[in-house]
């Protein structure tokens, strides 16, 4: 029975996906849909197959920008969350700032950053990703740091544990799964922000730039192939951070 369910959960989506692609191909061929509306999956696949190295290189560059942004935004987010958890004033000051930052359309800052850091550097893209990452990591970490159960707080007091001992043995381990939830949410944001920031200028590389230049040279199948590359990149970020989150959540039942 278990084998059958596993097969159904794995096989069913694959079958559905193939069926959808086949239908798409059929519609494009039968109704003679023009490539600028939508190219056929076979044409996209061919475009992908012709230049896999270029697509991979662009995806890696955008991925690197997203990763730098993810790291930078996470470090700053965690540091501020720890400060806010420890010092009440910091919490009161940062709360409205973070709320304000959360409603700013962050990619809109990209053109300004390109002027600030120079149009030949990747800094602006990495910074846009970092700001997008900062918010979910900060909020989740702060929430995690406040999840210590009263019984554990009492226990640490009963053991006359020092503040540092209590932090190390209870507060940080409790917060850890929340930090990883923040990473998982932030990872998609990092990829999206780094990619969309490329639309607004900067060096002529990365998946975002490749998509715009392929469209402007009327190579629609190639543009879609780059979109496929972007999807794979986002999936990779999501899957890795999801695996880390699941790992951090082992043995977290209440006891």
């Amino acid at each position: 029975m278990r084998g059958a369910t596993a097969a159904r959960t794995v096989v069913a989506p694959i079958v559905l996906g193939i069926a959808a692609l086949a239908l798409w191909q059929l519609v494009v061929v039968v109704f003679d849909v023009k490539p600028f509306v939508i190219p056929s999956p076979l044409a996209i696949g061919t475009a992908f197959g012709q230049t896999p190295d270029t697509i991979l290189a662009s995806a890696l560059l955008t991925g690197w920008n997203a990763l730098v942004g993810l790291m930078l935004g996470s470090i700053v987010g965690i540091l501020f969350a720890v400060l806010a958890a420890l010092v009440r004033v910091v919490d009161q000051i940062t709360a409205p700032l973070v709320a304000g930052l959360a409603v700013v359309p962050i990619v809109a800052l990209a053109p300004v950053f390109y002027t600030m850091f120079g149009a030949n550097a990747q800094t602006a893209r990495q910074l846009v990703a970092a700001i997008a990452v900062f918010i979910p990591v900060f909020l989740n970490t702060l929430r995690g740091l406040r999840q210590v159960r009263p019984v554990h707080r009492d226990l640490m007091k009963a053991y006359a544990a020092s503040p540092w001992q209590a932090t190390r043995t209870v507060t940080l381990p409790v917060a850890l799964p929340y930090v990883f939830t923040g990473f998982r949410i932030a990872s998609s944001l990092a990829v999206i922000s780094a990619l969309v920031a490329e639309y607004f200028g900067g060096p002529i590389d990365g998946v975002g730039r490749a998509i715009t230049s392929a469209v402007s040279s009327s190579n629609y199948a190639l543009a879609w192939a780059y979109v496929g590359g972007a999807i794979l990149l986002g999936l990779a970020f999501y899957c890795v951070t999801l695996a880390l989150e699941i790992l951090a959540n082992r043995h977290r039942g209440h006891a």
Binding site: D154, L155, A160, T169, V170, R252, G253, H254, A255
Partner: protein
């Protein structure tokens, strides 16, 4: 008062716990609530004392005062002749709560080891002691398990092993078996009696089960609510801890004591209505 462990030993003959003239009030939005009023209680070294009463009688609050997790509004508490704060810093007591309060990301061994680790015991010493403790609570085969892999009763046994890890002379227990089913509960009671006989620790035990209090205790302190007061203290003494077994539950002295505690608890029933939160089973 300092944060350093005191070097001098407790005064000779000092009681394990001494509570004199203690009041405890809490300020809430709707005014002050008197949780405890005029509490006097002495627990001798090695004595097992239960606090019993309906919800809101302040029995858990009293335990928290002894543990220095809260401080009294007026009056004085001393533990082995020291202030509760000093006794806590010197680790004079072990404590167990209604929730096992294990750290779910640590194995059973690492949970039992926690107090030893916090207080700087060496690795070899810790390992030896944990093996001994797991043997004592009958969990020798579960050292590598995680708390979420254990039943509620087993988790509570881990918590008890943790509480007695440093061989404290005083054990404070706040309804440790409250969340367990009746059969597990009786088995845990028998085990606790055995463990106390082996360690010789004094115990202050909060419960709202009458048979549990009678089975375990040398004395049962009956409390009444609003404000929390000690209504009466009943000597039970059903024999030395080592001699108490399950046969005792069928003994007529046991039933007589259960009835006596029940009558004390329900003393003001006519005036106050039914006593809530007390299990009569």
């Amino acid at each position: 008062m300092t944060d350093l462990p005191s070097t001098g030993s407790a005064p000779i003959g000092a009681p394990a716990v001494s509570v004199t003239g203690v009041d405890k009030t809490f300020s809430t939005r709707s005014g002050t609530v008197t949780a405890l009023q005029d509490i006097d209680l002495t627990v001798a070294p090695g004595e097992f004392v239960s606090l019993i009463g309906p919800s809101g009688c302040g029995k858990s609050t009293l335990l928290r005062l002894i543990a220095d997790l809260d401080s009294p509004t007026t009056g004085a508490v001393s533990v082995f002749g020291k202030t509760p704060r000093q006794a806590r810093i010197d680790q004079e007591y072990g404590i167990a709560f209604q929730q096992a309060g294990l750290l779910p990301w640590r194995t059973v061994r690492a949970n039992v080891e926690l107090p030893l680790e916090l207080h700087g015991a060496g690795r070899a010493e810790r390992a030896a002691r944990v093996t001994e403790l797991l043997e004592l609570v009958g969990l020798a085969d579960f050292g590598g398990s995680y708390p979420d892999q254990l039943s509620g009763g087993m988790q509570q046994r881990v918590a008890i092993a943790r509480a007695i890890a440093e061989s404290p002379r005083l054990l404070l227990m706040d309804e440790p078996f409250g969340a367990l089913d009746e059969m597990t509960r009786e088995r845990m009671q028998t085990e606790l009696v055995r463990i106390c006989a082996e360690t010789g620790a004094a115990v202050v035990f909060v419960t709202h089960s009458i048979p549990e209090a009678v089975f375990l205790s040398n004395r049962v302190v009956v409390m009444s609510p609003r404000p929390g007061r000690i209504r009466d203290i009943l000597d039970v003494d059903l024999g030395r801890a080592g001699e108490r077994g399950d046969a005792l539950r069928e003994d007529e002295h046991f039933f007589a004591s259960v009835s006596a505690v029940r009558e004390l608890l329900h003393g003001e029933q006519a005036a106050r209505g039914a006593v809530r939160g007390v299990e009569n089973r």
